[in-house]
Every structure is written in C-alpha cells, then in structure tokens.
C-alpha cells in the first residue's frame, strides 16, 4: 500500500493526520459551507452586514419554504425529473443493445463503429448546437421536454455504449457459446443470459447518467425556455432574478437544485464510483 499506512508511523504522525483530516475537509468544502450558512440566515443579517457572524436567527424553514411555495422552483424540479428519468431509461436501453452487439459479435466495422461512439462522446457541444436546434425546431419539439430527452438519449448513447461494450467484453464468453450450442436464439441470449449479468453496469450507468442529465445546463438553454419545459439548472437563473440580491433565498434555491444528484450519489455511492472509475485500473 502506498503511501505507508499511518498505523505504521509514529503516534505523533497519527495524531497529526487525524487532526488535519477534518481541517482539510472544511477548507475543501468552504465555499459550499458558506452557502449553507447563507441559506439559513434571515434577510436582516444581510442588511446589517452580518455575513459571517452567528446568524441572528435560524430561518431555514422560512427560507426553504419560500423556495418551495413562492416560486416556480417546484415546476422546474418536476421538469428536471421528467427530463432525466426518461433519458436514463432510453440511453441505458439503447446502449445495452449496442454494447451487446459490439461486445459479442465479430463483424467488419465493429471497431470502427465502436470508435465512432467514443469519438462522438468527446465532441464539444457547440459543433452540434445549430443543427440540433434546427432539427428540434423543425420537429416541433422546441421548448418541450421530449425535445431535450431525445437529444440527451442520443448523445449519452455514446458514453453508455463505450461503458456497456467494455463491460460485456469482460463477461465470460464461454457462457454465451454454451447457450448457442444449445440452440438458444440470439435475442433470448441477450435477454436471459447477458442482461441479468449486466445489472451492476446498468445500475452504475443509471446513476451516472442521472447526474449528468440533471446537471445539464447548455442544452436546457438552447432547446427550452421558460418554466413550461426548462429543468432546474436553467430555471435557477430565473429564480435568482425573482429574488435578486436576496442571498439567503438564492442560496436555499441552489441547494434545493443540487440536492437530487447529491442524494443519488450518497445512496448509490458504490455504483456511482464503479461507473466513474471504469478503466482506471487494468
């Protein structure tokens, strides 16, 4: 193990390490802690210049209550859910199939196709912006959740295919050959043999894609506008103009907007990290 386990070092070193840990963490999260503190303060603290002292009162419920009951925030949150969940389902479904095809079958152009998916996944969004916007407008899907979902599904298929194909490659191939020998059809192999083995990959991808899509901002402002279809990342600017310069409410608003992916991460940590670090070790 590297670096040397602290247990093998002197008592002093151990104590130093133990005490540096929390300090380092606080410094690391300092900007975020500041926002959390802001979100609990009453307005009067800001007008009195009491930014960093003890809050004169704790207004957490009032502030967060106003976010939920006096703004469009709940609508934006619902939009985000309605955009994110179908995208996760769509992208994972498509990539299970493409990953299966590219991972199991040998055919000409297999690698080429695979590399196309990888390359597409790296391109800057701006090179797609004009044509995708145009396509969406022409299909009558501009400013709809469906328009966003379709694009996200397509784009995320690139990353998901990379992921799924590599995962399937690592599955025991003899299992599939055995099934073939017994005359099981390809569809049934996919459905009954491979898919059950892919559960961990599906879980990992689902949480990753959930986070990516929830956090998308660029496509939200290119393909939608207004609280009818916009997700919360885009809606937050509108929220901030409603409560402009009221840092306690703006802070509460952004914490609310950030919460779902954070909750998702802490709930599904193992899958999340497994997905993110795929390929980081041989």
């Amino acid at each position: 193990m590297f670096p040397t386990p602290i247990q093998k070092r002197s008592r002093a070193a151990q104590l130093t390490y133990q005490s540096i840990l929390p300090i380092a963490l606080i410094m690391w999260l300092l900007p975020l802690l500041a926002v959390m503190l802001f979100s609990m303060r009453p307005l009067t603290d800001f007008t009195n210049g009491n930014y960093w002292g003890v809050p004169s009162s704790f207004e957490m419920f009032t502030n967060y209550g106003r976010v939920f009951f006096e703004s469009d925030m709940p609508r934006y949150m619902i939009n985000s859910v309605l955009i994110t969940v179908p995208t996760v389902v769509g992208a994972v479904a498509l990539s299970c199939m493409t990953g299966f095809a590219l991972g199991i079958y040998k055919f000409r152009g297999n690698l080429l196709l695979f590399f196309m998916f990888i390359a597409g996944n790296f391109v800057p969004f701006q090179i797609l912006m004009v044509p995708v916007r145009d396509l969406t407008v022409n299909m009558g899907l501009y400013d709809t959740k469906l328009g966003l979902v379709l694009f996200h599904v397509a784009f995320q298929t690139g990353f998901c295919t990379l992921f799924m194909r590599n995962f399937i490659r690592a599955l025991p191939y003899p299992l599939i050959e055995a099934a073939r020998v017994e005359g099981v059809s390809e569809w049934r192999i996919f459905w009954y043999v491979v898919l059950p083995l892919m559960k961990p990959a599906i879980a990992a991808l689902a949480v990753l894609i959930f986070t990516f899509i929830w956090n998308d901002y660029f496509w939200a402002i290119v393909l939608t506008q207004g609280p009818g279809a916009q997700p919360v990342t885009a809606g937050i600017t509108s929220f901030n103009s409603q409560f402009v310069a009221q840092y306690h409410l703006m802070s509460a608003g952004s914490i609310v907007a950030a919460l779902p992916p954070v909750a998702m991460f802490f709930a599904m940590q193992k899958h999340f990290i497994a997905g993110l670090t795929l390929g980081a070790v041989k």
């Binding site: 590297f2 386990p5 390490y17 493409t98 095809a101 800057p124 004009v130 569809w187 802490f266 070790v281």
Partner: protein, 288 residues
C-alpha cells in the same frame, strides 16, 4: 454472420447518427454560409473564417481557451495529491472520501453560483478570510486580469474531485508486492511515488487526462453563470462566444457561430485523435 447484430445496433446507431454524427458535418457546411436561422442561407465561402482572423473577441476567446487547457490540467496532480492524502485506513475515512468527492456531483451551475458568492467583493467569504489575515480585498470576477483564473479555480474544484476518485481507485489496485520489493531496495517517499507508483497508475492518469481536457473545452456553464463573458468580454472562451454569436439578440449568426464551433472542434480533434489512437493500441493488445 447474421442480421442480429444489425438489429441490436440499429436504434442506437440511428439516434447517434441523427443527433451527433450528421450534425457535425452540417455544422461544417453551415459555417460556409451566412444564415440567420430562418430565411435563406447565403453561401459565403470562407468569409466567416476570414472574419474570425480580425475579430478581437475571437482572439481573446482563443487565448482564454489555452489558459483553460493548461491550468485545468492542474486537477490531475491536485487530485493525485488528495488521493495520496486520503489513501489510509483510519476510522471514518470512507465518509471523508465521499465528502471530498461530492463537489463533482453538483451541477456546474451551482458550482458557478457558489463560487461567485464566494468571490463577492464584500459579502464573499474569500475576502472575509483575506481580511482576517490582514490582506486587502480583491475583486476576482470584476477584474479582467483575474476573472478567467477565478472561473478556472471554480472549475478545478469538481474536476480535482473527479481525478482524486480515479486515483483512489487506482491506488487500491497498485501491486503491493512491487511496493514491498521497492521498499526492500530502499526506495521511499518521492522516489517510490515517481518510479514505482505513478507508472502503475497509468490507466487512471490516462482517464484523468481525457476527462480533464474535455472538461476544459466544455467550460461554458461556469462562464455563463459567473461572469456572462464579462467584465467587458474578458472571460469569453470559444464555446461561450459561439453561443453568443449564434443565438445573439441582434441577429442569429448561425454561420459565424458554426465557424467558431468548427475551430473549437478542430482543437478537440487533436485530442480525440490522440485518445482514440491510445485506445486502439490497447484494443489491439487485448483483443480476443
């Protein structure tokens, strides 16, 4: 060879072609036109590109992109440093790792807001801390010489977390026998890290490099939220300038915007080429 793989591929490939592959070529084509997104497009050849050459805002954007690319790479050593720091087995270390990592799951919009409040000249915590140590206050986002660096620092926060988690995973898989063997040979500290550990972390470093480069060139959200390109246009990058031009209030310049996007794409293509080449080498070695 049956049609089965084709059927499996069809929906995914179709989607991907329509929304990703074809649009890339369309953008190239649009960049040769003068088009407001509505009426007829007029063919102008390379005029959009020659206009770019004399465009001061484009020049600033390009330079800022270079700054982003270079400085964003700091996320890799910083991530490694934190990973080494946290790679211990003391009580509660798992929670520490999670808390160090979780800025990565925040949306860039929230990171941008959090940091713009952190930098506020009066209300911001940064100046409160500087003041505590007796230093004068600085206005990070209001100063054109500092603003871009301020935004990059905000971007490095989640990016470092990402690199950290890659390295933590990588460190887990470092071969303990090699470490012990090296230790017996008297290697330790920096030498051990440089000659024994880092070579074994190559796959993690490669991925960290890939995601960091992509992240640097996708720096749109933070800029849009934190400075909106200002003060007086000093924090623009290509991705932001492209958006501004293509969807601007005073007339969509889809052609000009596409030309900027093409330049950005060409920069990216250099890296994409390198990534694919590396992956292809790997495929050849491991192919069954």
């Amino acid at each position: 060879m049956t049609v089965t793989p084709l059927l499996f591929l069809l929906p995914g490939v179709l989607f991907f072609a329509v929304y990703v592959v074809i649009p890339i070529f369309q953008s190239f084509q649009i960049s040769l036109y003068d088009w407001d997104g509505l009426g007829e497009a007029t063919y102008v050849g390379l005029e959009n590109y020659s206009e770019l050459v004399g465009d001061r805002a484009f020049e600033i954007s390009l330079w800022n992109n270079v700054k982003w690319l270079v400085l964003y790479l700091l996320a890799i050593p910083a991530g490694l440093f934190i990973a080494l720091f946290l790679n211990q087995t003391v009580a509660g270390i798992r929670l520490y790792k999670s808390l160090f990592f979780f800025p990565f799951v925040l949306s860039q919009v929230v990171v941008g807001l959090v940091f713009s409040w952190f930098y506020l000249p009066r209300e911001g915590l940064l100046n409160a801390v500087l003041g505590f140590f007796g230093a004068g206050s600085i206005n990070v986002l209001g100063d054109p010489t500092l603003a871009t660096y301020g935004i990059i620092a905000a971007g490095l926060w989640p990016q470092t977390a990402y690199c950290m988690i890659l390295y933590l995973t990588g460190l887990n898989a470092v071969d303990p026998e090699q470490i012990e063997a090296a230790r017996l040979d008297g290697a330790k500290g920096r030498h051990m890290l440089w000659y024994v550990v880092i070579p074994q972390l190559r796959p993690a470093t490669f991925i960290a490099f890939v995601v960091t480069i992509i992240g640097a060139l996708r720096s749109f959200d933070l800029i849009s939220i934190m400075t909106n390109g200002g003060p007086f246009g000093s924090t623009r990058v290509l991705s932001f300038y492209m958006f501004e031009q293509a969807l601007s209030e005073y007339g969509f310049r889809m052609g000009y915007g596409s030309a900027i996007a093409v330049v950005l794409f060409m920069i990216m293509l250099v890296f994409i080429g390198y990534f694919l080449w590396s992956m292809w080498n790997e495929e050849r070695q491991s192919g069954h």
